[in-house]
Symmetry: C2
Subunit: 309 residues, 2 copies
């Protein structure tokens, strides 16, 4: 049996996991990300922990290392500034290969996590998957024929910036107006609830509080009318834009992930209900699933990237 490693390099910790050649996780651990000295220690630290793991486990047949980094990465493995890490422009894949002697592939962390979730999480067993990541922002990944669509400009799966409301007056973080992210992210949901409170006289548990996105879901579950109405609008937006994505790529399954997806079944059922209204008839039975890998999606995807190469 051969083995390989998935590395998810974040601004505070490096998540590392060992997988067998079938993609089954054998072990996982973390080390701190030392960002001092322009991030010069990060790759040597990773190399050291991997070598020590290989020695203590008598590993001989290592496929290589897949690594997800917080920034844009070219096909060759070149990063062009990772601000969180203190890194400038260099070839991260080559540098880690030189340090370990192992074959290395590198990719963007969000893209890699989407691949992991599509292949080994909520999308497991399907070749055509749309991953919708609802977090502080909205991102995603589109897998067709088992491969992630990276796009000509690295913008494949940037579904958070599809236009949902051309009447919007406030700008999105991207500079446009009316993007999905302005309504369906955790911050977007809070903003929509605040706007809603201003425009209604209704009593609500949200009123007068500095509430979070989780509060909106929690209060809705407890029967708070305003929270329920806000979420109904969110589900409608989600159903609409996901139906539009399905007209483009017609996937087998849509996987909902990211922090907002911890709301679970009520979110899933709400989105499905509105999706049915907006979906093209041929796509009406598209499956929906919740993400399952949570914080492990990055290491899973990093290893999967290695299998593709």
């Amino acid at each position: 049996m051969k083995f390989g490693f998935g590395v998810d390099l974040g601004g505070t910790t490096v998540k590392i996991a060992c997988f067998d050649e079938n993609g089954v996780m054998q072990d996982k651990w973390e080390i701190p990300t030392r960002t001092e000295d322009g991030g010069a220690h990060i790759l040597p630290d990773i190399a050291r922990t991997l070598q020590s793991y290989c020695q203590s486990h008598n590993m001989e047949q290592v496929i290589g290392i897949g690594i997800g980094v917080p920034g844009a990465v070219t096909d060759d493995g070149v990063v062009n500034r990772c601000i969180n890490l203190g890194w400038g422009k260099f070839n991260v894949a080559k540098a880690l290969r030189d340090l370990t002697g192992f074959y290395v592939v590198a990719g963007n962390d969000a893209t890699v996590a989407a691949l992991g979730e599509c292949r080994m999480g909520g999308g497991k067993g399907h070749k055509n998957v749309v991953m919708v990541t609802l977090g502080t922002g909205v991102g995603g990944g589109i897998v067709v024929g088992g491969k992630l669509i990276l796009g000509t400009n690295g913008a494949g799966g940037e579904i958070g910036h599809m236009v949902l409301n051309r009447q919007e007056t406030r700008p999105c973080n991207c500079g446009k107006r009316g993007c999905v992210e302005q309504y369906c992210s955790a911050t977007g949901i809070v903003r929509m609830a605040k706007d809603y409170l201003v425009n209604t006289q209704k009593e609500s548990a949200l009123r007068g509080k500095d509430f979070t996105c989780k509060d909106v879901f929690d209060f809705a579950a407890q029967g708070d009318e305003v929270s329920k109405e806000v979420l109904e609008q969110v589900y409608s937006y989600l159903g609409e834009f996901i139906a539009n994505i399905c007209c483009v790529v017609d996937p087998e399954v849509v996987v909902l992930g990211g922090g907002v997806s911890k709301a679970g079944v009520p979110l899933l059922e709400g989105v499905k209900r509105h999706f049915a209204r907006y979906a093209y008839h041929a796509c009406r039975d598209t499956e929906f699933a919740l993400a399952t890998l949570e914080n492990d999606a990055g290491v899973y995807g990093a290893f999967q990237m290695l299998l593709d190469d």
Copy 2:
């Protein structure tokens, strides 16, 4: 040099072309589509003309035949009723193979035409192409990594049924409300112009006439204000929904085809202008091109399908 055939089977004529193995067209001709007797003569007629062509050209090395038919086709080549042809359910690929002795692949005509335009027409030289077909309806094709996305339910590229206006009260042909096709097809443009005339006092060359989509473009070119304003709205809708598609698959080039695209450069420039407003910043420089193959897209695509198999 090897040769092969592309066949575009329509309700009134069968278009046929011979290609060399590089996809360069050598010859093309048409025969009538005889729909009498439940369409029983159609395939024998095609077989006869192809055999006669091969004999008169002393062709020995024939790759096979690709055929586009007006209806849904399974991967195996089974059609399930082609109403225009009088056909029921049978394996069209196998039937034509039995008649000719050649290898045969079959696909849906619209899908096949999109493949032809993406590979050999406006999208030539690109691996990632979005084809937008603006005709009586709105259809399309999405090519990623050189392959057409067919979709789980055969609805890949059904971009005419993305929702553009959730306030729409009138139904689309598909049963939903507010689809792209209701605004950006030839019939949609005429309908928008009629609505616009009802809601404005302005003089217009369109007023009191039973005008066509081409009239709207022609009058706009002659300076008719109402026609110009209607088209500006159409360009805005097109720019918006194409920008949304680019957030999903991030293509190198967007190809505009179908009857409406005969409007040419004014359409292209109008769409690009609005696309720039709605596009995610990474996709802002996406190329646009007009379709070039016109009625030959089907035979080109049918032959290309053969090369993939």
